[in-house]
Amino acid sequence: MLLFVSNVRRLGHTLHTDGRCWIIGLAIETEKLSKIYTHDANGQPVGLIDLSLVVEEGQIFGLLGPNGSGKTTTLKLLLGLIFPTAGRGQVFGQPLGSNTYKQRIGFLPEGPYFYEHLNGVELLQFYGSLFGMGGSALSARIEELLKLVGMWDRRFIRVRDYSRGMRQRIGVAQALINDPDLLFLDELTSGLDPIGVVDMHHLLTDLRDMGKTLFVCSHLLKDMEPLCDRVIILNRGKECRTGTVDELLRVADQVRLVLSNWSDELKTRLATSAADCEVADKQLICHFQDQSQALAAATIAVEAGAVIEDLGARRRTLEEVFIEAVGGEEPCDQSSE
Amino acid sequence: MKLYRIVGWLLAIAMLFAIHPLDQSLQYDRLVLGLRQPTPWFQIVARASGGDTELAVTGVTGVIVGAALGGFREVAASMLWMKTHEYWHKGHGTQAKALWLMRLVTLLDPHWLEPWRITAWHLAYNLYVETDDPALQAKYLQMGVECLKEGISWNPDRYDLYLELGWTLFDKVKDYEEAPKWFRAAMRYPHPEYVDRLVGHAYERMPDIPRALDAYDYCMKRNPLDQTAVGATLTIRERYLPAWDLAEQGSYDEALDAINEYLLAQPTSSLGLHVKAHIAEQAGQLRLAYDTWSLAGNLSALDFLAQRKAVELAQRLGIPVEETPQHIYMQRTGKEMKAGSPDRDRLSR
């Protein structure tokens, strides 16, 4: 699908600034990055508070959270569009807002807006020219990108006549114009139809496979769950959960047994040793406090003629984790950790 | 505050002050070239605060709108100028307002010649005939002349206002000694041909026959086809020159005889009477001179020169007469007014 070749930069040395060592292999690093706009009625700061995150090169990094949780603020801080009130950050080892790293990044804002009077080709020519690109190389690149996002046959339509989906597609194209190493994507799939969503997800994984780093903001957790390598969940400006998706979805010390072709009698028997048992989609799902209990139960089940569909660590959906984390009164409910 | 910001702001302020010497040099150049037109703010404010409210509002609004529009200041002057006509024709009571506004227009746009001319004309001609008080009439004459002199100080490189001032002195004051000086000033700049002849006309009426002939001679040298100058030269040589020459030689009686001979044929010729009176004055026959000037003054209501001369002589002879505006004007203005050298910086300082 992607014809262009990425040039992954792996600089194996360290840069000394302010007496600290920053490892260049990190795409993004922030340290207690804060942007406080104002304070609410209870005197709590509103904005982004003390965000520390590390994004390694080659990852798909998800910044998740409900509306107003500080996702876009984080993006704007990382792009140098706004300035932190405290803390600091680096992108590719450069201070925030530096022109140097902007050569290597692409940005798709949420619900992107472009010069309305340009058509797709002109728009990409303009953005390409900002990188000093031009001539036949740029033309070839534009054709490639327009075909990639499925806009080639609509390339002469002016932006003001675009649908939301078309804006999103041309937005992806402009973000990729300089073949960036790091992509910032804000609500990538908003406004897209299901086929478009699937296309975009393919695009993301393809890009990751080419060694690109992707920094994705979204409130659509279901979409992000299979894609992200690492996620941060933000709520009301604060970091609630951080980790790889695996880490977040696994429930500590619980083992899950999924059975089909089970009987009510078997269910009653298992329920005595299981922490809980539930029926979903004609399958019996039981959770156990430790592995030995689970293995014993599995043995019983096989003897009773049931079929084991799955046996392993208990997994939750990202949505569950999210609701658990942000559901309470406090910005972050840390009770389960 | 970051260092670059402090440095940046200091640099900006330093540059503002560094522009100043360049600005000073430019302002000097503009003054020399006559490009600089400082708004006489103090005069405008003083006039606005001293005048009546309606006028102050109109005037100050005009100035502010004019200044505000920048490039349209002159157009604002044009608009106010139209307003002056409205005031002028409304009736007697509003003429003062009209004059005030006219004055404002000249302040707003002093290089526009029309308002200077019209304002002076209103003063020296129109207001002049609206009163019977010679002292007031003399004052209007004086104001008209001063208005034109100020206009000249703003526009010293155009003939128009020199001519206008010369004409006012020639036609209304009948100061034939002063008028040609301003015609000559007008002649230094591109001008219509008749200005040249006006010098001759003035000396002819003064009378100063040799200078009149010189002036016409100049006209004919400039344009040999100038029929007016040719005709005037012939007339003067035939009618007045013989008497004038005799008087110059001291033969006053013969001179008077010569001019009387012409006056027998043309008893109402005002030029002839002027020459006769002039010769009588030279001969020391003041009574005859008085009678002649009086006759000329009575024959033509507009012969203000004869009327003024009659008053002068009557005073010397002890004859009671009514003063004329022109006489009052000449006495008031004296000699120092006549050294009216254009002072173009008068308003800017």
């Binding site: 704007k76 792009l79 140098g80 569009l81 706004i82 022109n99 902007k102 050569q103 990044i105 940005f107 804002p109 807006y113 010069y115 009077h117 303009f126 900002l130 990188f131 937005g171 300089n178 | 910001r5 940046g8 702001w9 640099l11 900006a12 540059m15 503002l16 002050f17 560094a18 522009i19 360049l22 430019l26 150049d29 503009r30 070239l33 006559g34 490009l35 600089r36 037109q37 400082p38 708004t39 703010w41 103090f42 200044a67 529009l69 490039g71 349209f72 200041r73 044009s78 100028w81 139209m82 290089h111 526009w112 010649l113 029309e114 490189d157 003939y159 591109p190 001008h191 219509p192 300082r349």
Partner: protein, 270 residues
Amino acid sequence: MRPIFRVARATFHEAWRRRFLNGILIFAILIIGSSWAFAYLQPGAELQMVIDIGLGSIRFFGMLIAVFLGTRLVPDEIELRTIHTILAKPVSRAQFLFGKYLGGVGTLAANMLLMGAAFYVVFAIKAPQFLAEKPEDAMIVAAMYSNIAKAILLTFFEVFLILGIAVVAATLFSWVLSVIFTFVFYFVGHMSDFFQQLSDPERGASKIAQIVMGALYRILPHFEIFDIREAILMGTYTPWSVMFKTIGEGVAYLVVVLLIGYLVFNEREV
């Protein structure tokens, strides 16, 4: 430098799609084109009326375009969020700001050229008619041709300066406030000799007035320096030294304005 010109070019193309700009331009050209129709108002000074209305219109409408274009250039980008994708590319804020300004200058220059050309045509038609009635003014009218071109050239720099002030004002204030600010700046700049007179000790200015009014006189732009109408009407030659000094002063002031704009916009959140 490259990004500046890219942004400038995009700004220029975009500006021509602004309806109010086209409206002002058409209206201005109509007024200039019909200025001879107003000339009858001043018998004996028809040519002066044509010049006053023509040059006055170029200035006034140039100023209007500068104010309304300048105060929209950057805020539009911020409100429509088009600035986000641009500043996320290797374009610094300074480059963006100067690019927007330069694009505005191009737009303004094109508008002024059109208005200037319209006026020049009217003048060239009207001047011979005037000369036929008043042949003694031949020298003055002959000098007018070059003087009017010079006057229009100076007006260019005047409106460029106003545009700079408008662009910078719009980075500081809301739209309405920046429009008012720019207008007031323009008006007060035209009255700068007032402050000079107020700071004149010969007119009885106190020590404090001398310092405060003197500083105001130095800080305010002197818009009247761009006015050479007197030379046009008197038919005097406007030397190039004066032209260069005027343009130099205007450009120097513009540099100060843009420097302040850079200092403000560099810290501005978008």
